[in-house]
């Protein structure tokens, strides 16, 4: 699998680290709602299909970015900064 880094261009997946579901919204700072924090931290939609996710270009620019990938095929639709 090759991943298009929005800063460095297309590179092998070996240069990147996966960082989880990017559609999960982090609760606002100081929010004390434990259920919301639990769901943010531990619950995944884990879809078989399109998935918006975080990746970090560890062996390149070290920037975090979002990637739109199909988990059923590993087809990459696009990345965003």
């Amino acid at each position: 699998m090759r991943i298009p880094c929005p800063h460095c261009g297309e590179r092998d997946v070996a240069e990147f680290r996966y960082g989880g579901d990017a559609s999960n919204v982090r609760p606002s700072h100081g929010s004390g709602d434990l259920k919301q924090w639990h769901d943010y931290k531990f619950i995944f939609d884990n879809p078989q299909g399109p998935h918006l996710e975080y990746w970090q270009h560890v062996y390149g620019c070290r920037q975090w970015f979002k990637l739109n990938r199909n988990t059923a095929t590993n087809e990459i639709v696009g990345g965003e900064r």
């Binding site: 997946v13 070996a14 680290r17 884990n46 988990t71 095929t73």
Partner: protein, 419 residues
């Protein structure tokens, strides 16, 4: 249908090769309703159905399998069994599994080729020897076999490892569990399927569940590719696709689906007589009875349902193999494949009730699904039959993250991303 397998049935079929062996399990047409439906005809689902019929007297059971028996992870793992766990909640459960493995071939009247060849986990620093001593002591306090070996003892048992002065990860010792070993995984699927079928369980292959039907907060049945089937008790045992099936009942789970690769080399004469695993990296290897080295390492590291592994992980696992066992550099890789497994935030499974009445969950097995098969079946059957937790699975609940009761065996938190 085949009844008992024995030396006499073997002789009969050897002498009359024109008579084919009968089907090992029946292929019934699905009925319109059952007392219990198990979704997933893998090792765990078949074992659950078997123990439900045998231990709890439930006769009207269906196991729904979307493909054929043996097509999923029960036939894709590296066949290892062990019970070298340390924290409460895991220790007794996996030891129960080990005890069930010990008698499984007789129990099922099917040769599962259970081999207690022992597992050697190699320590690569003095600190790791100390950590292994602690693990071993905890195991022994729980009645599990474990012994600590020093470098010289390891050298005697595993002379083919890299003991040179230049070794990148010098071997300081090992923890040995003599009863650990390997099991022929296909035989586990076939053996449970045959034994369950003989007890009247309907094993329905090529039957994919597409919807879980509910009446308010209760389950009432499933919609499948072979029609609607009703039941008030449904067990999900589809690890790898747990999120997908649970979503049919409106559940969101602490599970991500990841790919784990496995590898086998060309067969050679016997050299590796144990299961060998490593303290420097997640790496495990055994030699099959056919002679091939069967081995694996980490998951690829990102969620996917493709069953196609990435090259960087292949390279990483080969580097582990050749660093630990220099002779592996002269072996040729025969095959590699991938299986999709549930990864949970603490690396431990779920055997639990769900917020929906009559819907039971078995999943989240991470790297350890195969070795858990018999205990998983026993305890999940108990839960479905009695609508209450088995004493061994109290820690495997869905709400453990809310309660701060993670079963974090390796003490590294969310280990999905720690590689």
């Amino acid at each position: 249908m085949a009844k008992g397998y024995s030396i006499f049935s073997l002789a009969k079929h050897a002498l009359r090769p024109s008579e084919p062996w009968p089907e090992a399990w029946e292929k019934p047409v699905p009925k319109s309703s059952y007392d219990v439906i198990i979704i997933g005809g893998g090792g765990h689902g078949l074992a659950t159905a078997y123990y439900l019929a045998k231990d709890h007297g439930v006769k009207n059971i269906a196991v729904l399998e979307k493909s054929y028996i043996g097509s999923g992870n029960v036939g894709r793992n590296t066949t290892l069994i062990r019970s070298n766990y340390m924290i409460g909640g895991n220790t007794a459960f996996f030891e129960k599994s080990m005890q069930l493995w010990e008698g499984l071939s007789h129990e099922l009247n099917f040769n599962c080729m259970v081999s207690h060849r022992g597992q050697m986990t190699l320590a690569v620093s003095p600190g790791q020897v100390d950590a292994f001593a602690r693990r071993g002591n905890t195991m022994r306090l729980n009645g599990i076999d474990a012994e600590l070996l020093d470098r010289n003892e390891v050298m005697k048992e595993l002379p083919y490892l890299d003991f040179s002065k230049e070794a990148r990860f010098p071997i300081h010792g090992a923890i040995h569990q003599p009863r650990a070993g390997t099991v022929r995984h296909d035989a586990v699927a076939w053996g449970y399927a045959r034994a369950a079928s003989q007890l009247g369980v309907h094993i329905i292959e090529n039957c994919e569940v597409s919807a879980i039907l509910r009446d308010g907060d209760k389950v009432v049945g499933v919609e499948t590719s072979r029609g609607k089937i009703l039941s008030n008790k449904i067990g999900i045992a589809v690890a790898g696709h747990t999120s997908h099936v649970a979503a049919m009942a409106g559940l969101r789970l602490p599970v991500e689906s990841h790919i784990l690769q496995a590898f086998v080399t060309e067969p050679v004469k016997p050299i590796v007589h144990h299961v060998v695993s490593w303290g420097a990296e997640l790496f495990y290897l055994s030699q099959s009875d056919k002679g091939g080295m069967v081995f694996g390492g980490h998951i690829d590291g990102f969620n996917t349902y493709t069953q196609r592994g990435q090259f960087h992980r292949i390279q990483n696992v080969m580097e582990c193999a050749t660093t630990l066992l220099p002779f592996m550099s002269r072996m040729r890789l025969l095959r590699h494949w991938g299986g999709i497994q549930d990864m949970t935030p603490d690396g431990s499974p779920f055997i639990c009730k769900t917020p929906i009445d009559g819907l039971y969950l078995n999943g989240g097995w991470c790297y350890q699904g195969f070795k858990a098969t018999p205990a998983s079946g026993t305890t999940f059957a108990y839960m479905i039959a009695n609508d209450q937790e088995h004493e061994l699975t109290g820690g495997f609940s869905l709400d453990r993250f809310e309660k701060g009761k993670e079963l974090d065996e390796y003490g590294i938190g969310n280990w999905i991303y720690k590689q």
